[in-house]
């Protein structure tokens, strides 16, 4: 990103905010990069001669006579097989002490796939976690976030899922990752011996927030290289998207845009969609699957960030500490995988969807019984059975420390149903009862 010879250098800033600078310049194109006092910046607005730049690392210490040069192109990433096993910062520069990557330079944040050229996602991604595989089955080409409070072990679960999933590449985009979590991911990947199939783009909390805005585009540019050019199955991990959205609101605020709900920019939905919609099953066999993390404020999913996310992604996974079993479980009520019906009963056993629904319905009955108990009412025999069922169901199936295959999950579910209920109480189709019921 060095200055080229004979480039025009501007030295008079008209305005400076915490995230942006404005100056008079000509021949500037939208979205192109610039260097302001040695810091990377991007054009976000032009109005007559006045150009506004967002400065990724913040504007602290930038004087009004700072040198500004324009680079003539939007952000790019050099892509090649050399990306494998490497760690980069938000600009795509190595942070692992290794050499620069050689390869084709590509614009990040490029165009979207023609919807008509997509293929229907239909390949199961098994994770061993029954709360996911049984109730919220993941499919390649899907995009799904974890909705979790900051104190929940979402990064651990995500690392588990990534390492167990049968994919060719895992690409991690870390936004506002704490240094500890960064080292955790690094350690997990290393100790699993999976480094050769990992690429990481990391922005930690030590780095300026606006830099985060580059992470998803960088991560997905690398993902598209492997999925489109190499026909690989790519799993993208994005954590934490809430911090990404916060960075968006900082920039829009500094540009004096009118905020919509929760002081987020009015374009939040489109901004998030551009990222998540990169998830795709390509006709050539390659795919991009996105698993993200959206941290919540005390479980509030009505906040603009999780709310907009929920309308874009194909479901969401909720983690919750379960008081009955003392474990962290995948919440069966709020979690949802919208693509599960493409694999349930097709790539898995025929009873899958009915077992899933019965399991959750009975778990809901247990919640009603619990409410009754809390209100001091007598419990019926059915209520008591439900409560026992819920505990066993949570421990043996919903807990995130479960690691079994889907057939075992289904058999376990039938076993638990048989232990506490009559066939009629499960409401499952008679033909399946006849075949699988365990008295």
């Amino acid at each position: 990103m060095a200055n080229k010879a004979f480039q025009k250098i501007y030295t008079h800033l008209q305005a400076i905010t915490k995230a942006t600078v404005s100056l008079k310049a000509s021949g500037v194109s939208n979205d192109e990069l610039a260097v302001v006092a040695g810091r990377l910046a991007q054009v976000v607005k032009t109005k007559g001669e006045l150009v506004t730049l967002q400065v990724f690392s913040g504007t602290e210490g930038i004087p009004t006579d700072a040198e500004v040069t324009f680079l003539g192109a939007p952000p790019t990433l050099k892509v090649s097989d050399q990306l494998s096993g490497r760690f980069f910062n938000a600009y795509g520069n190595p942070i692992d002490g290794g050499p620069e990557v050689d390869g084709e330079e590509r614009e990040v944040g490029g165009p979207s796939v023609n919807p008509y050229k997509r293929r229907q996602p239909s390949e199961l991604i098994p994770t061993g976690i029954a709360g996911i595989d049984l109730n919220n089955t993941l499919v390649s080409g899907q995009k799904i976030p974890f909705f979790a409070d900051p104190d929940q072990p979402y990064n651990q679960v995500m690392a588990d899922v990534a390492l167990r999933a049968d994919v060719d590449k895992i690409i991690l985009g870390g936004m506002g990752l704490s240094n500890d979590d960064y080292l955790f991911f690094k350690h997990e990947f290393e100790s699993a011996g999976a480094l050769d199939k990992i690429v990481c783009f990391i922005n930690t909390t030590e780095e300026p927030p606006v830099e985060r805005l580059l992470i998803p585009d960088m991560t997905l540019a690398a993902a598209e290289y492997f999925a489109v050019d190499k026909n690989e199955k790519v799993l993208v991990l994005l954590t934490d998207m809430t911090l990404y959205a916060d960075a968006l609101s900082i920039v829009s605020n500094r540009m004096d845009q009118i905020p919509s709900k929760d002081s987020m920019p009015g374009s939040l939905y489109s901004d998030l969609a551009k990222i998540y919609e990169k998830a795709v099953q390509l006709p050539s066999g390659g795919s991009i699957t996105i698993i993200a993390v959206t941290t919540l404020n005390d479980g509030d999913i009505t906040h603009a960030i999780p709310d907009n996310t929920g309308y874009i992604t194909e479901g969401q996974l909720f983690l919750r500490a379960d008081s009955d079993s003392g474990k962290v479980i995948v919440d069966p009520f709020r979690s949802l995988s919208r693509l599960k019906q493409h694999v349930q009963g097709k790539k898995t056993r025929e009873d899958h969807s009915q077992v899933m629904n019965a399991g959750v319905r009975l778990y809901a009955d247990a919640q009603n019984a619990k409410t009754k108990l809390e209100n001091g009412f007598d419990l019926s025999d059915y209520d008591l059975r439900c409560l026992d069922y819920a505990k066993e169901y949570a421990t043996r199936l919903l807990s995130i420390d479960v690691n079994i295959d889907i057939e075992t999950m289904l058999n376990t579910a039938w076993e638990i149903f048989g232990k506490y209920f009559s066939p009629a109480e499960t409401g499952i189709k008679q033909s399946l009862i006849d075949k699988y019921w365990k008295a």
Partner: protein
């Protein structure tokens, strides 16, 4: 001479242009980006500065880049071949694009210019005709596609020549019309119409008079939508909005279906591409795709084209309605459309209304809904557009501008409920809060009396009453405890559960249960109301619960069995046996 201009400012997809001549609101222009032409639409003019929204990414655009105004508004191209097509929001044909990625500035033709259509004339030379009168017809699949006097023709014309029956392409001249001044006008099988202007050219727009069947019990029986009616489906994410909309698209009783995927997930549209060609229309036995046009502007496609997509879809429906056909337009989701309006209004630094939406949001929405409806054509035939939009309220809170504005415009309200979805009670339409204004229409009541049975509307209301009563009883039970209420409370509650589980809930993924014809709905409702009309004797509430759970289970098995089959009848007998044990 055409007006031209130069770019003077860029914020995302809002570009300001200094113009050298007259420009019109909503006029289109091309912005030249190093030889690539980006389509844009004028949305505001201040002195010589026009603000245009660009339908593409503006990356790389510079101040000073040249702009050429086209002197026309955004138009839809209408003609045979619209059905089975997949378009983006600007009616570019997505199937004929070569690249896997969408290329900026690539605009493809909506219709095939090579294909030949079997034309037969309807008008004869000497006929007096007006806009939207039928000149001839071609077979588009199984459907008789009328070739009309273009909607843009004003006044009366005389048919001078009409092509003989035979094979023609859409560009071949099929008629020559002479206007009042004696000037000849050649007519082909294709015409253009600005999407933001409603197509008129019908005799009158009476009130709807019949029901459009969807095969979904909670809609058809509980809150039916009229043919030519309007409805909307608000609901938080994860409540089954899309599944319900797809079910309506698959099963809706209509000749033409236009689905507008407006700012939604691409994979959902892919699901339609993949499934529809396989699925059979239950009403005609033909492939579903034959009657379907998809307008697909997914969430990652340019936001301005998203706004255009619903208008493009509506214009295509209006075109088919003018042929005397019944169209169904499904837009998922109108909230994304409203958000597109908000993004633009925000970039233009307009003073915001509630939740930063533009202040005229409500007017824009009502105006759009008003384009639906049943019409009587000038030749006495009837055509209809039934419109169902989904709304994605922020945080699932129905007190937000898009839901509120839509509630004023739409006649049916299908409220999807988080708590029902959590309990997997699908479709999660709340049976009590939802409504259909059409149930109050005397003409609809009359239709139901005739089509189903006399007094059907009252019967439906009695079922609703049982559901409402059951909910109240359940609240009491939750406050006072199982033992703290009389047995009749439990009985009333379980009767409402019976209706909920055996009638309102429906498995959209089960081959048989997914589609429930109205005769079957009537059969089941009669059976269930017969059960609910009886009084039962129970020793305790446990017995009551057990009895009704068993009853529910058998009724659900009936729903899963083919209507009138041996299995079905054996379950029916089981019900009878249960009723003999208890119930008077």
């Amino acid at each position: 001479m055409k007006t031209t201009g130069k770019v003077t400012g860029i914020v995302s997809n809002l570009v300001t242009v200094r113009t050298d001549g007259p420009v019109a609101e909503n006029e289109l222009c091309y912005i030249d980006l190093k030889g690539t032409k980006l389509l844009a639409e004028v949305i505001k003019v201040t002195a010589d500065q026009a603000s245009v929204q660009v339908f593409e990414s503006t990356r790389g655009l510079k101040n000073g880049d040249s702009v050429e105004f086209l002197g026309k508004m955004l138009e839809a191209t209408l003609g045979p071949g619209l059905l089975s097509s997949v378009y983006d929001g600007l009616q570019n044909n997505l199937t004929t694009m070569s690249d896997v990625f969408l290329k900026r500035g690539e605009y493809t033709d909506p219709l095939d210019h090579e294909a030949k259509w079997d034309f037969s004339p309807i008008a004869v030379s000497g006929d007096k005709v007006e806009a939207s009168d039928w000149l001839g017809e071609v077979k588009e699949g199984w459907l008789s596609h009328k070739i009309m006097v273009p909607f843009s023709f004003k006044g009366e014309y005389t048919v001078k020549e009409i092509a003989a029956a035979g094979q023609y392409t859409i560009d071949d001249k099929i008629a020559v019309l002479v206007d009042a001044e004696g000037v000849d006008h050649a007519v082909t099988m294709t015409q253009k119409w600005p999407v933001k202007v409603a197509v008129k050219g019908y005799k009158e727009k009476p009130r709807p008079e019949k029901i459009m069947e969807t095969g979904v019990r909670v809609i058809d029986t509980f809150n039916p939508i009229a043919e030519g009616g309007t409805g909307f489906i608000p609901g938080p994410f994860g409540c089954g909005k899309t599944v319900l909309q797809h079910a309506i698209a698959k099963q809706g009783e209509a000749d033409v279906i236009v689905m507008a995927a407006c700012g939604e997930r691409a994979n959902e549209v892919v699901e339609i591409f993949t499934e529809f060609p396989e699925l059979i229309d239950p009403h005609t036995g033909r492939h579903l795709m034959e009657r379907t046009t998809i307008i697909c502007n997914t969430s990652n496609m340019p936001v301005a084209a998203r706004e255009a997509s619903v208008y493009t879809a509506m214009t295509i429906c209006e075109y088919y309605r003018a042929m005397g056909l019944r169209c169904l337009l499904l837009a998922d989701s109108t909230s994304r459309w409203a958000q597109a309006l908000r993004e633009m209004s925000n970039r233009m630094e307009e003073l915001p209304g509630a939740d930063a939406f533009p202040v005229d949001l409500s007017a824009i929405i009502s105006n759009f809904y008003s384009r639906a409806g049943m019409v009587v054509l000038k030749n006495g035939k009837k055509g209809a557009i039934t419109f169902i939009g989904t709304v994605s309220p922020a945080g699932g809170n129905l007190k937000e501008p898009v839901t509120e504005s839509t509630k004023k415009a739409a006649r049916c309200f299908y409220a999807l409920e988080q708590s029902r979805a959590d309990q997997k009670r699908y479709p999660s339409i709340n049976p009590i809060d939802s409504y259909s204004k059409y149930l109050e229409y005397p003409e609809i009541k009359e239709y139901l009396d005739e089509k189903i049975e006399k007094g059907w509307a009252d019967k439906v209301n009695s079922a609703k009453f049982i559901v409402r009563k059951g909910k109240e009883m359940n609240d009491q039970i939750n406050i006072l405890g199982d033992d703290g209420v009389p047995m009749s409370y439990h009985e009333a509650f379980w009767k409402s559960e019976l209706i909920d589980f055996a009638f309102l809930q429906q498995d959209a993924f089960d081959a048989i249960d997914a589609l429930c014809p109205i005769e079957r709905q009537k059969y089941m409702l009669d059976l269930i109301l017969d059960i609910c009309g009886r009084t039962f004797e129970f020793e305790d509430y446990e017995k009551c619960r057990g009895y009704f759970k068993e009853m529910i289970n058998v009724l659900r098995q009936m729903n899963y069995s083919e209507f009138g089959s041996e299995n079905f009848n054996s379950y029916r007998e089981k019900i009878q046996k249960l009723l003999e044990q208890n119930g008077k």
